[in-house]
């Protein structure tokens, strides 16, 4: 069993999951909204990248900047039009709303890009030799950017004034309001940031994986599994769990085949929900 190869493959995948899950977690932490449409933002990110690079011949690095702005805008619209109105309602309502939005977005994606798969050949292709292993450049870049951004956002949350405002809104909204923080502003920017992170994950994914409008659903479950294992509301938990689950998925896939391998993640998520619902480091999920 090529342990090192699998391990590295798992970690590289985990980096992407971290970016996805951190965005999802950020939104949950601040607004107690479980964004069912997060996967679609990823898919739209990936497909937009394909259009931008393969279709309009923009350089790949520009997609890293432009596409997250697009998904952030979509996220902002989602929040202002729909989620803001559901601010006081029980979580299930915003879940239903984001579920509905996700189907609208999937439809939109199918209309824009068709239902088939698109790849991005020639971008970040080739491989380098690291520690005696042949690693594909696209995966390396994806890992570096994904993990880098996730850690950067964590730094922002811990060290900057905006980050403190975000944390105080997620922990004690009433107190935050009294101390002059505009909750609406924080929620808007947080949702936009989370959406941007999903979009960025899509950009990074485009050269490595084949993108199609159904990409969102597949990744959403994995992102949920990551946050639940890591603990909903815990940012470092999401990063750690993402890397862990990436590795588990790759190892699992080696033994049982890719299809059942991804089912493993979900089963792990279920197991965690039932046995230790707080996950590694987070807030509870039990009744």
């Amino acid at each position: 069993m090529p342990i090192t190869e699998l391990l590295i493959g798992g970690l590289l995948l985990g980096g992407l999951y971290a970016l996805m899950a951190c965005g999802l977690n950020l939104i949950f932490g601040v607004m107690r909204v479980i964004n069912f449409a997060h996967g679609e933002l990823l898919a739209i990110g990936a497909l937009s990248t394909v259009s931008l690079v393969a279709g309009f011949h923009f350089p790949f690095w520009s997609a890293l900047l432009l596409v997250p702005i697009l998904t952030a805008a979509i996220g902002l619209v989602m929040h202002k039009l729909v989620l803001q109105r559901l601010a006081g309602a029980p979580m299930i309502m915003s879940l239903l709303a984001t579920y509905a939005i996700s189907t609208i977005l999937v439809n939109g994606a199918i209309l824009t890009w068709g239902g088939g798969y698109r790849g991005l050949p020639g971008v970040l292709s080739g491989s380098v030799s690291v520690l005696g292993q042949n690693l594909s450049i696209s995966r390396l870049v994806a890992f570096a950017v994904a993990l880098g951004v996730s850690l950067a956002v964590w730094w922002v949350l811990e060290k900057t004034r905006w980050g403190r405002a975000v944390r105080s809104v997620s922990q004690a909204p009433e107190l935050a309001e009294i101390s002059g923080i505009s909750i609406e502003h924080v929620r808007n920017t947080t949702f936009a940031l989370g959406a941007a992170m999903a979009g960025l994950a899509g950009v990074l994914m485009a050269p490595t994986f084949a993108s199609d409008p159904q990409l969102g659903v597949r990744f959403l479950i994995k992102a949920f599994a990551v946050i639940i294992v890591g603990g909903m509301g815990s940012y470092p938990g999401a990063i750690a769990a993402a890397l862990l689950l990436g590795v588990i998925e790759v190892f699992g896939g080696y033994f049982t085949g890719a299809v059942i391998g991804s089912a493993l993640l979900f089963l792990l998520m279920l197991a965690v929900l039932l046995v230790r619902p707080r996950g590694l480091l987070g807030v509870g999920a039990r009744t």
Partner: protein, 336 residues
């Protein structure tokens, strides 16, 4: 009391008459309507009454479909035996699943069920030596599909009547209590765990049966049809739009959405998801309790759960004075 029964009889007869007097088109429309109705009524039990909304209804539909299809194909079972077995399979899965999953809070339960559906789909795709995976399973078509149709009509009637009986019973009230405030209900002695799990199991039976019936009718089943997210979305939209926790809600919703479905597939099939998604979104934002509940509140429709009001009225006429003590017997106290 008479009006709902009369209505039910009329609708039932109309449904039964379709194969004889209706066109092919009318038949297939009614079939789809019936399938959606049965799924919706089932989801209404666990989502509408008990308040445990979830995105995994279709996993029982798919499970029932595959169990039924495999029994018919590989074991040579007749469809009218295979369907009840498929229904039992649904219940058998729901029991341990419900016991485990219903301990989770609302949104986590919803997502958990969604994930489970995807997992089941993956497993079906993965074990393709048995299930033929993505290619799908073909069944020998039946000569006469009418009995299948009648089975669907029968199932739909059972679901509607069952929901009506539930609505007018203390059991129904207990489920609503769980929905409204589970902790308070539990503190007041309602056996919430038992009731939740029981309802979940019951809500899995009909979808599993319909899944099998659907496979028989189409003569075919594959993962996208069996675990169709579109079907899930439509079922939820039906109950939300129609009215959660009511007798007529799923019926109204099913009719509205079947019509929408027909119109869309005829003219704008590529906008189906977006339109149904938008309808669901509008319902969530502006009418979360659905058309029927709105109608009841505004007085257009008679308010549901009439049994208790009726008993109260009956009790009010010529009642003997309050004889029973409100607290446990004085006699017991005297013992102390």
């Amino acid at each position: 009391m008479m009006k709902p029964i009369a209505l039910a009889v009329v609708l039932g007869l109309a449904a039964l008459a379709v194969p004889y007097f209706g066109t092919e088109y009318a038949l297939s429309f009614t079939m789809q309507l019936l399938v959606f109705m049965i799924l919706a009524y089932s989801w209404n039990l666990i989502g509408g009454y008990t308040g445990y909304t979830h995105f995994g209804q279709v996993c029982f539909f798919g499970l029932g479909g595959y169990v039924g299809a495999l029994l018919i194909q590989n074991a040579g079972m007749r469809w009218y035996f295979a369907v009840p077995v498929a229904a039992l399979a649904g219940a058998a899965l729901a029991l341990p699943l419900g016991t485990a999953m219903l301990r989770l809070k609302g949104p986590y339960f919803a997502i958990g069920m969604f994930g489970l559906t995807r997992v089941l789909e993956s497993l079906v795709l993965g074990f393709d030596s048995v299930t033929k995976g993505g290619t799908g399973l073909y069944l020998v078509p039946l000569d006469n599909l009418r009995p299948v149709y009648y089975a669907l009509v029968g199932l739909a009637i059972v679901m509607i009547v069952g929901t009506w009986r539930l609505d007018n019973s203390r059991l129904g009230l207990k489920l609503l209590a769980i929905r409204e405030d589970e902790q308070a209900a539990d503190s007041l002695g309602v056996r919430t765990t038992r009731l939740k799990i029981g309802t979940f199991v019951v809500s899995a039976i009909a979808p599993a049966a319909v899944g099998a019936l659907n496979a028989v009718y189409l003569g075919f089943i594959d993962p996208p049809t069996a675990f169709s997210p579109v079907m899930e979305l439509t079922t939820i939209a039906i109950v939300l739009l129609g009215g959660m926790g009511t007798v007529l809600g799923p019926l109204v919703g099913a009719i509205v959405l079947s019509v929408v479905n027909e119109l869309l597939w005829a003219r704008f099939p590529e906008y189906y998801l977006a339109i149904v998604g938008t309808l669901l979104l509008l319902a969530v934002l502006y009418m979360p309790r659905g058309i029927v509940n709105l109608g009841m509140k505004r007085g257009w429709l008679p308010a549901g759960r009439s049994l208790f009001r009726q008993l109260a009225r009956e009790g009010g006429r010529g009642r003997p004075p309050v004889a029973a003590p409100l607290v446990p017997d004085e006699a017991k106290r005297a013992e102390a």
